[in-house]
């Protein structure tokens, strides 16, 4: 519950029936608001993701390409001791964005078609997990060695950039994995309390 929701609760209660009923409701809402404010002083919890990504049906990618994309993104950001691209529904989000590019940025769709053509040509979907990792190591080599070239590098960068963006802006990536603590309601800013940082 955000502070806004709490104040709305009060307003709704205030505009409801009068007399005893009004006051009891108002008090409940006020107590709820006070409780919520108290939580805020500890840092308000991030809200849930309003989208039901797990139920999302791909619109841009074919079923086969979507499977390929899922294998690629979960190799980029795998599920290990923390959730990965799959739990964050990265591929679903990418499909949603690329599909929506039709209106103002059709060239974006062309880039993704070329990337999927390339991966189909490499038979990426048939590779084992180890083969996928060594394939990605090969096509990503110019990241570490800028003088090198690889025909798959452009496609790798396209998918990686979008995957990284999708993952770290998802609730899973931002809250569960990065443990981001900002964007909260606080009564005081927690400044640096490390004496050693004053003598760097």
């Amino acid at each position: 519950m955000t502070r806004r929701d709490a104040s709305w609760a009060i307003l709704r209660a205030a505009s409801a029936a009068g007399g005893q009923a009004f006051f009891s409701r108002w008090l409940q809402a006020a107590q709820a608001a006070a409780a919520a404010m108290h939580t805020h002083s500890e840092g308000s919890p991030p809200p849930p993701d309003p989208h039901d990504w797990a139920a999302y049906k791909p619109q841009f990618f074919s079923a086969a390409d979507f499977h390929t994309l899922d294998l690629f993104t979960s190799t980029l950001i795998p599920t290990d001791d923390t959730p990965g691209a799959r739990e964050a529904c990265v591929s679903q989000f990418i499909d949603f964005v690329v599909n929506a590019a039709a209106e103002y940025a059709p060239a974006v769709q062309e880039e993704w078609r070329r990337a999927m053509d390339y991966l189909r040509g490499q038979d990426f979907a048939s590779m084992t997990e180890e083969q996928r990792v060594s394939f990605l190591e090969r096509i990503s080599a110019p990241e570490r060695h800028p003088s090198q070239h690889d025909p798959g590098f452009t496609h790798y960068r396209l998918i990686k950039q979008m995957t990284v963006h999708a993952f770290y802006t998802s609730r899973v990536g931002l809250v569960d994995v990065l443990e981001y603590k900002g964007f909260a309601y606080l009564t005081a800013f927690p400044g640096c309390d490390h004496p050693e940082h004053h003598q760097v």
Binding site: G43, Y185, T187
Partner: protein
Amino acid sequence: MPQKFDVIIVGSGACGGWAAMALTQSGFKVALLEAGSHIEPYRDFHHQWPYQLPFRGSGQPGFLRRYCRGATEYNYRLMIDDVENPYTTPHDKPFSWSRSRVLGGRTLHWSRACDRLSDLEFKAASRDGYGDNWPISYTDIAPYYDRVERFIGVSAARANFLQFPDGVFLPPMPLNCAETMFASAAGRLGLPATPRRVAQLTHMWNNRPPCHYCGNCVNGCDVGAMFSTVSTTLPPALKTGNVTLLCDSIVSHVLVNRENRACGVRYIERYTNRTIELAANVVVLAGSSLENTRLLLNSAKGGLANSSGILGHYLMDQIGGAAVSGFLPVLKGAAIRNDDGKSSGLYFPNFTNIAPQTGSRGFIRGYAMSATGGAAQFPAFAPDLPGFGSSYKKQVKTLYPAFARVWLSGGEMLSRKENFVALDPEVRDKWGIPVLKITCSHCDNDRKLYADFFTRAQELFRAAGGEIVDAKPYLSPPGSLIHEVGTCRMGEDPKTSVLNSFCQTHDVPNLFVFGGGCFVTTGDKHPTLTMMALSARGCDRLTDLAKKGEFA
């Protein structure tokens, strides 16, 4: 017979909002015209997590291209639509103009920095022989700085810097870990450093609540803890009952009578395209530096109040460009803290050319830097970090709290006549008003100043123990700092200036121009506080003259 107002104010940003408050409180009947739409912070501003937005902040692909630079999925409704409101530049001289047309203007999403200029800026020409002095000195404006700071609320630490005068301050916000390390490094390098002075409340002030440290400032503050017209100056103006607020009203002309006095404005209703004339005894332009000048240029052949021929010239922005960024190893793998909740940072006021001997580093004037670091909402370094898989994921997490940057928060761009705006003879906006053609470029001094910043910022970063990752110098095109000032400069001599020191036009005594247009030099400080202080001073002058019957 249509109603005649005492004063028409064009624009509701920092200066228009202040003027509306000051003049209505003096008893004037005021019409406040705003080209953009009405906005209610409590209704229209929300805390939105990226995953709550359909496109996680980036907008539908391609959609935000029509908006000015700085527009995101969070805030594009506050930003101007460049397709409806174009401007032109020569092909080889790009200029980046970020505007807002909405009640409150750019105060809704500004960076909130409140800096006082000193006589090092006001009297710079006397020190190094370049350009002109301002017609005012620090003592003329200091009481107005006090008045504005006291009302809007500025959180800052007293520092006693010659080049960065102290003011009326609320308690400063504490520094985060990265900023503490940069402050420590600055101490050893002998650089001045202080928490950035910002119009964000650290306790209840003038019926406004304190900051709740969400860090959402640039998307609009939902509680009014940061200064904006809608949170701070408009409510007291409305309370007087003396203001008629007209939103969606695009002013095309200042109307002038046969005695060369301003007698009102002509405006176009944004949605109906109806043209309406409004009469007043005094006209105050406060629609931003360049929009004010555009309006003057469009109001008379050769430009209204332009007997000097100077109107449009001496355009300045401030110098900005690529930051120095990287990691502070001490913070690698540290427990994640709320580092970006106050979104202000550490400020390094100018430290060059302060000694009596100026120009010893090969350039004149100065620049200010800022630094911050820590876990920001999005790990900006991650897309370019090589690798993938579990090791990549762990590396992002380790580096997340250690990312830091030092950036140029403003360098003085020299005032030059050949940087100017004029009406484009061919291009008009959606309402048929001629648009500005902006001709602006950097000079050698500007480039040397940026190069010096880049060297110093790297020294600072290393002194804080940092590893620099991204250090490619790049000077941003003029306009990028969104500190565009000049084109309507103030001065003693009507032959070489448009305004007197009270922001009143030399040629048309009942026409005032508030905003950055009057700036003679840009200095290295953020301009808004000075613009507001000059507006407050101009309002005092306007009130005095009106009481003497000058505008009857």
